[in-house]
Amino acid sequence: MWAYILRRLFQLLPVILLSSFLVFMLLHLVPGDPAETVAGPDATPDVIKAVRQKMGLDRPLLVQYGIWLGHLSRADLGESYISKMPVIDLVGYAFPATIQLSLAALFLSLAISLPLGVLASLKQGSKLDLFVQGYTALGLGVPNFWLGILLILVFALLLGVLPPGGRIDPLQSPMMGLKTLILPALTLGIHISAVFTRFVRAAMLEVLHEDYVRTARSKGLQERVVVVRHALRSALVPVVTVVGLQFGRLLGGAVVVESVFAWPGVGRLIIQAVEQRDYTVVQASLLWLVLVFLLINLITDITYAFLDPRIRLTQGRG
């Protein structure tokens, strides 16, 4: 088991390195640089040049990359070009917001998809099943930013019961914190719930036809016990993998939703930083996102390998 984990971790390193290189190079390919923003809108060309020199932006790219890597190895993410705040603070502040949103979306989607998926599988072909299938089709097809707009239209503008955006820290004000969380979490979560529902339903359907379930039933066990104790348990194994994958994507996919609801997470941080050409912030946050994503994939793989020994024994290359 440990050999597997180590092997996977080792395989991760070149990916991370290459990603960091891509991130760095890409940003410097983009036209416009932070010197102008930092110098201010009324700066003359020579002032901007001086600022650029002071920021070290006129050195060759590879040198800048090397310097950046050096800082990274010392866990120094640098300072934002624009606000001079340490990047680690900026990302550190945005990180909990994104995690909170992702977890809430994940929770909501599981709360929706587990019962729906199980019920639909139990009553296959019925009206309920058709309804659930319609729901998943809709949930998969509706773009999340439009869903956000519709939810704002209905709940914030028409009914006025929920705020249309922004985030209140739940530690400061739990009620308001919850209220600001609902719409964005729903927006993100509905799409994921559609994916999960389908998966749960399919997994349950497979399991329900297995021999041991039939055996349990013929033994006269209560339906509920059969479903929960036996069928659901084994159906959950592949679901775990899917959850793991989706969580990783939730983090990135929150970018657009954070934009719609002005949610101060990593996604919105990246978009703002990109607009201002705040290289250090974009680099650090992109890298952070990539790392988290890779890590979650790794954890998912390990969990899956843990549950299914065949995987870790036969897996050659990643």
Partner: protein, 301 residues
């Protein structure tokens, strides 16, 4: 969705005596599937709309009718007007062009570059394979939307550049898929035979490996098309896709936000069009997947 389990192509061939072309078989299977039927109809509908837009749309989508700004749906403007007095129905009809063309182009880019590099890498193996694979891993580690944003930032905004961005984000998926196919097919008898007969590498790859990899690649194309349309809309929503006054559904939705309170139609109808197309594409790709190879695990996103 498709309760019947379709038979493996080889079994079908056995039953029909292998006289019918596998493509016709697949097509028929797609259409027989109720989901597939819906999907194909939706797709045909939007393609028709896109092609016939100049003829069926009541107004020119970029003309501003001063004085008619933000009007609610009425006889003169069936779906209302936007903040510049442009007819929303016409803009939605023309918007289909952008969504579909960006979708098609980006899938073509992904398919071409992805499939080629994947097949080559899988076939050749060794260091090159490892290196290219690492590259795909990197690209796949980026949330797709950020990859799109990154590319568009370098190339500048615009529908064409959005298509390139989406295309680039498609490449790793196709590459992975093609590589997996190449790895399997590489060990088959006919490949060994071709090599023994002294066939050129490239000929083997394209003449032999490719056709066998084609079905999963086509399935992936259908799936990728749906994602491509969604990604283009997302990029336009963020202001990085088609530029004004071009009517992209995503950018229409983005602009509608500030007027939601006074013009709900602006935020609703473009979304309906986009969602319909996406649902149709989803149904279509599901049906294609079922038709071509029902037992294959989906390697898509």
């Amino acid at each position: 969705m498709g309760a019947k389990r379709a038979l493996h192509p080889e079994q079908h061939a056995a039953r029909r005596g292998a006289t019918e072309s596998p493509w016709r078989r697949s097509v028929r299977r797609v259409l027989r599937n109720p989901a597939g039927g819906i999907g194909v109809s939706v797709l045909v509908f939007f393609c028709g709309v896109a092609v016939l837009a100049p003829f069926i749309s009541p107004y020119d989508p970029v003309i501003q009718y001063a004085g008619d700004e933000l009007l609610s749906p009425r006889a003169k403007y069936p779906l209302g007007t936007d903040e510049f007095g442009r007819d929303i129905l016409s803009r939605i009809l023309y918007g289909a062009r952008i969504s579909l063309s960006v979708g098609l182009i980006s899938v073509a880019i992904g398919f071409t570059f992805g499939a080629t590099s994947g097949l080559v890498a899988g076939y050749i193996g060794g260091r090159i394979d490892t290196l290219i694979n690492r590259l795909w891993d990197c690209l796949l580690a980026f949330p797709v939307i950020l990859l799109g944003i990154a590319v568009v930032l370098v190339t500048g905004p615009g529908a064409v550049n959005a298509a390139i961005a989406v295309g680039i984000s498609n490449i790793p998926i196709f590459a992975r898929l093609a590589r997996a196919c190449a790895l399997t097919e590489k060990e088959r008898d006919y490949t060994h035979a071709a090599r023994a007969l002294g066939g050129r590498q490239s000929r083997i790859v394209f003449r032999h490996l490719l056709p066998n990899a084609l079905s999963p690649l086509l399935v992936q194309s259908a799936v990728a098309m749906a994602f491509a349309v969604l990604l283009e809309a997302s990029l336009s929503f963020l202001g990085l896709g088609a530029q004004p006054p071009e009517p992209s559904w995503g950018s229409m939705l983005s602009y509608s936000r500030q007027f939601l309170r006074v013009a709900w139609w602006y935020g609703v109808f473009p979304g309906v069009a986009l969602t319909s197309l996406l649902i149709g594409l989803n149904y279509f790709s599901d049906a294609v997947r079922d038709a071509f190879d029902p037992r294959q695990i989906n390697i898509g996103r």
